[in-house]
Amino acid sequence: MAEAIIQMRDVNKWYGKFHVLRNINLEVAPKERIVVCGPSGSGKSTLIRCLNRLEEHQQGSIIVDGTELTNDVKHVEAIRREVGMVFQHFNLFPHLTVLENLTLGPIWVLKKPKVEAEKEAMSYLERVRIPEQANKFPGQLSGGQQQRVAIARSLCMNPKVMLFDEPTSALDPEMVKEVLDVMVELAVDTGMTMICVTHEMGFARKVADRVIFMDQGEIIEENTPDAFFDNPQNERTKLFLSQILH
């Protein structure tokens, strides 16, 4: 069994008095695809945001690709180079063109020369099927296109792990499919390690190696997709599934 690329041990986090993550223990193997689901407020977004230090955990340890996540800025920056993130609201940079959005990280963080960075960026834009938008600004694109640019932007950093924080939740229904297709292709073609917080259960069934259910800060149940959806063990899991699969 390969060394886990992500190890979370007894991770606890509080927002003031509110205990948002309770004793999280999670190991993610390389190339594994994990879908995290759960009701609103269960801490799933907080969980993955702790993995690239957008949130800080107060107790326990998180080790990403052999580096422990602490307050040490060098550690944090090293980890962020290996972990890419796709946000619910895209977070593209509106004052830069699509191509500039993609090449920013490679040029300034990975220190690649501009020509090489642009070539790679164009190839990723083709992978997400919007190469013709390279010189447009994000504000001129549709939501689905913007999210695909965001995915390409993270991919340009050649990360080892991709985190997705509800990537399709802010999209119109007809655009959800185009983004999910890109994510499926990513999983199938590249073998990227993916941790995805989503409500798209069809996606989970198709792509996930493991589905994790969270409620009130705890991991309640985790299983393979078929076992999870067809044979949920915990009462809370059954309740959640009955609410979303209608």
């Binding site: 690239n52 230090r53 957008l54 920056e77 962020r80 180079r81 972990v83 890419g84 993130m85 946000f87 609201h89 895209f90 977070n91 593209l92 940079f93 509106p94 004052h95 063109t97 920013l104 990280g105 300034w108 963080v109 447009k136 600004f137 504000g139 001129q140 932007r153 993270s154 950093m157």
Partner: protein, 362 residues
């Protein structure tokens, strides 16, 4: 009375004009009253102004009495005094030097607005340009007689103070704004104290303090040039206001932008320089340019510490015993000069805003 006639495409042009005028100026009782009032005010003011400024004005006169005889504006006063107002006590025969230096300055400012020059060549341009201007103003080499800067005056002094005050206060203000938002308590406190102290006092008192108190703090024998002291005071003053304005812009940036930048692994300064500050500064261009325009006009306050800027030069020109009582002409003259510069800054900022909004609907 209900007007039911509206403009339609089939009407002739004259009908459309009349209806357009009616809709704009006479669409209601209140509107009609305002229109009549405005026209009356304009009829009172403009012919009188035109009469004073052009019809009865004397453009050429040998002395004050001749000039006043016509009863209108005495532009001959300006003709007589303009060199003094513009160049102050700079030696008369050498005044071509500040003229060339000023033209050079203005040329550099105009060239700096050209976006294609926004790289290292801009630095080169200003280094060479400032060196040339310095040689022209001070002299002492290349056969030019030496003119110490206490003899400089008028518009070159105003331009110099304003340009350097604006250029230096801007980066300092940005750093202060970032410092005030810092999580490190020491840095944050220093920035807060500085900003609140400076904002609590008028520029005049800062100029006084710089002029009188600064020499007391310096070691024996070391003096700072008076012009430099005034410049320091103005830079410190403007930086506080720039800081607060930029801080407002920073607050307007959604948290997602910071997170997007962080998730790419950019360092703090890379995030600020590449992502956050470009967006924040663009948002606050209107109030920022307002601060700069105010600073340009605030240079007139150096009158208080005896520096010969454009305003003091105008004031001194009025002290001439042979040409008494032409205050209006003098101040109209310098107002036009101030207006030219300030209005240009305002127009440039609007053009800049338009150019930076390409592709982003706002």
């Amino acid at each position: 009375m209900q007007n039911t006639i509206h403009s339609t495409p089939n009407m002739g042009l004259d009908a459309k004009i009349i209806i357009g005028l009616r809709d704009r100026f006479f669409s209601s009782i209140g509107n009609s009253i305002l229109t009549v009032l405005s026209v009356w005010l304009l009829l009172m003011a403009i012919p009188a102004l035109f009469d004073w400024g052009f019809t009865r004005a004397s453009f050429y006169a040998n002395n004050a009495q001749e000039c006043r005889a016509a009863g209108g504006a005495c532009w001959a006063f300006i003709g007589e005094k303009y060199r003094f107002i513009l160049f102050g006590t700079y030696p008369f025969e050498q005044q071509w030097r500040p003229l060339v230096a000023m033209l050079l300055f203005v040329a550099m400012l105009i060239l700096s607005t050209w976006r294609r020059l926004w790289n290292i060549s801009l630095l080169a341009l200003w280094t060479v340009g400032l060196a040339t201007a310095a040689i022209l103003m001070w002299g002492g080499i290349f056969g030019l007689t030496y003119v110490e800067n206490s003899n400089w005056g008028g518009l070159p002094v105003t331009l110099l103070l304003a340009t350097f005050a604006i250029a230096l206060s801007f980066p300092i203000g940005v750093v202060l704004a970032l410092g005030r938002r810092s999580k490190m308590p020491a840095i944050k406190s220093i920035c807060v104290v500085y900003i609140e102290l400076i904002r609590g006092v008028p520029l005049i008192s800062l100029l006084f303090m710089a002029s009188l108190m600064l020499p007391l703090f310096l070691p024996e024998g070391l003096t700072i040039d008076k012009l430099l002291r005034a410049l320091i005071a103005m830079v410190l003053f403007a930086a506080a206001y720039v800081a607060e304005t930029v801080r407002g812009g920073l607050q307007a940036i959604p948290k997602g932008q910071f997170e997007g930048a962080e998730s790419l692994g950019l360092s703090y300064w890379q995030q600020m320089r590449l992502i956050i500050l470009p967006q924040a500064l663009k948002i606050v261009i209107p109030p920022l340019v307002g601060i700069f325009i105010s600073m340009f006009k605030d240079t007139s306050l150096v009158v208080i510490i005896g520096i010969f800027d454009l305003t003091l030069a105008a004031k001194s020109a009025l002290a001439d015993a042979n040409w008494q009582g032409f205050g209006v002409e003098a101040y109209v003259f310098i107002s036009l000069i101030y207006f030219t510069f300030c209005f240009s800054m305002s127009r440039y900022s609007q053009a800049l805003e338009r150019r930076l909004s390409v592709g982003q609907k706002r």
